[in-house]
């Protein structure tokens, strides 16, 4: 456990340095905080508008307004963590490659992937984390006090939910590292962020919306091949249990096969990101100075 303590210490130093840095540009910090949270608020506003004209998103899916708020809160929770801890590093990574700054990272007697992916923290993105917690609290309160089919929370679910949110974060992290590693091959990679945005865009909706002849293959693609649809859907379903409205909720394994699969998917994607990162490092050629 000695190495864990050591890496934690280094991580605390990263957290500290980033905070000192953010605080020395205070105005910018507040602006970023406001900008980031207004994004979430406006997104919320859009769904409030939509729910004035519809009962649920996807006929018979069970995603009524309070359940959907829970989904939205889970999405925000995961994205805010990814944006605070990993996004600044992934963006910096292609910069490190372009300028040859990666040389210095490679010299350090410490795991390179760790150093690359945890160096910077954007504290302002954590504002959304707090907002998401509030939203989550509101939606749980709404669901548990509903007049018809109120939600009953079991302690197991309360324990599993944060665990699966964490797994979701691990999967997002893996995807981001895989994308970042490609910039070693592609050189300048401006579209990295776009690509990330477009791919994760698929994860931000209930899987039920992908239905029909075109939708189902897409749903399976993003559940089982590039399993980003699991990231939000599994923990959100676990907590909000939208299927409780259905008349026969089905056998337990029908609801539980996705979570079990997700555990495996998280392990596989993390190992894959590790392998690809190491592979990419081998073809790093260092920019000439």
């Amino acid at each position: 456990m000695y190495w864990l303590k050591r890496y934690l210490n280094i991580w605390f130093a990263f957290l500290r340095n980033s905070l000192v840095r953010d605080m020395s540009f205070r105005n910018n910090f507040w602006l970023e905080l406001i900008a980031a949270s207004s994004w979430v608020v406006m997104n919320l506003g859009f769904y409030i508008l939509v729910y004035q004209h519809t009962e649920e998103i996807g006929q018979g899916s069970g995603w009524h307004f309070p359940e959907f708020l829970c989904f939205l809160a889970t999405t925000t929770l995961i994205t805010s963590v990814v944006q605070a801890f990993f996004m600044p590093n992934a963006q910096e990574f292609s910069e490190l490659i372009r300028t040859g700054g990666l040389d210095f990272v490679l010299l350090k007697p410490i795991d390179t992937q760790f150093l690359v992916s945890f160096r910077k923290v954007s504290w302002s993105s954590l504002g959304n984390f707090v907002f998401a917690l509030g939203l989550l609290g509101y939606s749980v309160w709404k669901m548990t006090t509903a007049e018809t089919d109120p939600l009953v929370l079991s302690p197991i679910i309360c324990l599993l939910y944060p665990l699966f949110v964490l797994l979701g974060i691990v999967m997002m992290y893996s995807l981001m590292m895989i994308l970042a590693a490609t910039s070693i091959w592609l050189g300048r990679n401006q579209t990295l962020y776009d690509f990330w945005f477009y791919i994760t865009n698929f994860s931000r909706y209930p899987k039920e919306i992908y239905s029909g002849a075109w939708g189902l293959p897409l749903q399976y693609l993003f559940l089982f091949v590039v399993p980003i649809l699991l990231v939000v859907n599994v923990p959100a379903r676990m907590l909000a249990a939208p299927f409780r409205h259905q008349e026969n909720p089905g056998l337990w394994y029908v609801e539980w096969y996705l979570p079990i699969f997700m555990v495996g998917a998280a392990v596989v994607s993390l190992s894959l990101s590790r392998a690809i990162f190491q592979w990419a490092l081998r073809s790093y050629r260092s920019s000439s100075s």
Binding site: N28, V50, E55, L186, R188, F197, F202, S211
Partner: protein, 286 residues
């Protein structure tokens, strides 16, 4: 990159100017094509978000309280057509990297090269932008045509020639407004060194209020009236709305006129900002 080319022009004859413009255009195009990996990926990716939008609206319509199959005055096919056309409008009006580029040049002091050399910054960047767009269209034409062909069922009828002309005009003006609006944001860098957050707010507003995320018609009437006063709608909402016949007759004529006025406003604003910005910049000694 291509600043050396610009430096050699002393003559101000029209012919010479065209030569310079052509040179800037050509080199920008070359530069753009040099990063083929980026390019191919970027173009393909742009079609992805629209897929989720189509499915999301499919789900909303499937359970929605529709009137004659319409929500907010849109049928499902209209909605899909709207998003497809928004893609086209955005392909004209989006200016990735423009404002950040200008701000970065101001901050790093590279802006000096435009002050020393006989070249106009806004004009130079404008040509580069056109080159980028041309390179983009050249590659994006095929996938665009393919997607529109696949989705031809969603377009209930093709508009008459006059409407189509108005649609084209709104696309071109959308490009111009997009360029000058973002240039203005970049030029704010003369006064505040960090424009990143300002730009983020602009992106945010333009994502939600330009019609990129949803047709503005779903907003409550009171909100919509206010939003309609902003120039943002020309970046995404306006061209599809014209195409789908949401704006007709005199409303269309007035709408295009107001758009032209907005365009003029941003052209003048960017010129004024550049003028005073440079003054301030050289006043501080760079």
């Amino acid at each position: 990159m291509s600043n050396t080319v610009v430096a050699t022009t002393i003559s101000h004859t029209i012919g010479h100017r065209f030569k310079v413009w052509w040179m800037i255009f050509k080199i920008s195009l070359e530069e753009r094509l040099a990063y083929r990996g980026d390019f191919a990926l970027g173009t393909l990716m742009r079609f992805l978000p629209i897929v989720t939008q189509i499915f999301l609206w499919g789900a909303i319509f499937s359970a929605g309280m529709t009137e004659e199959g319409k929500l907010f005055g849109y049928s499902y096919t209209d909605m899909v057509a709207y998003y497809l056309l928004t893609m086209l409008a955005r392909a004209f009006s989006s200016m990735p990297g423009l404002a950040t580029g200008i701000a970065a040049e101001i901050r790093s002091g590279e802006i000096k090269k435009y002050l020393i050399q006989p070249v106009d910054l806004l004009g130079y960047l404008f040509l580069r932008r056109i080159a980028h767009k041309v390179a983009y269209y050249a590659i994006a034409l095929l996938p665009f045509a393919f997607v529109f062909f696949l989705c031809r069922g969603y377009f209930s009828s093709f508009p008459d020639l006059l409407t189509f002309g108005a649609f084209l005009a709104s696309l071109v003006m959308g490009f111009l407004i997009g360029y000058y609006l973002e240039a203005c944001i970049g030029l704010v860098g003369f006064w505040f060194l960090e424009v990143g957050s300002l730009l983020f707010i602009y992106m945010l507003l333009s994502f939600f209020l330009s019609g990129h995320m949803f047709p503005l018609d779903i907003l409550p009437t009171s909100v919509k009236t206010v939003i309609e006063l902003l120039p943002l709608k020309y970046l995404a909402y306006y061209p599809p709305a014209i195409f789908l016949g949401k704006i007709q007759g005199w409303a269309l004529v007035y709408g295009l006129l107001i758009e032209a006025v907005w365009l003029l406003f941003f052209v003048v604003l960017s010129r004024v900002m550049f003028h005073f910005g440079v003054k301030r910049y050289s006043g501080f000694g760079g």
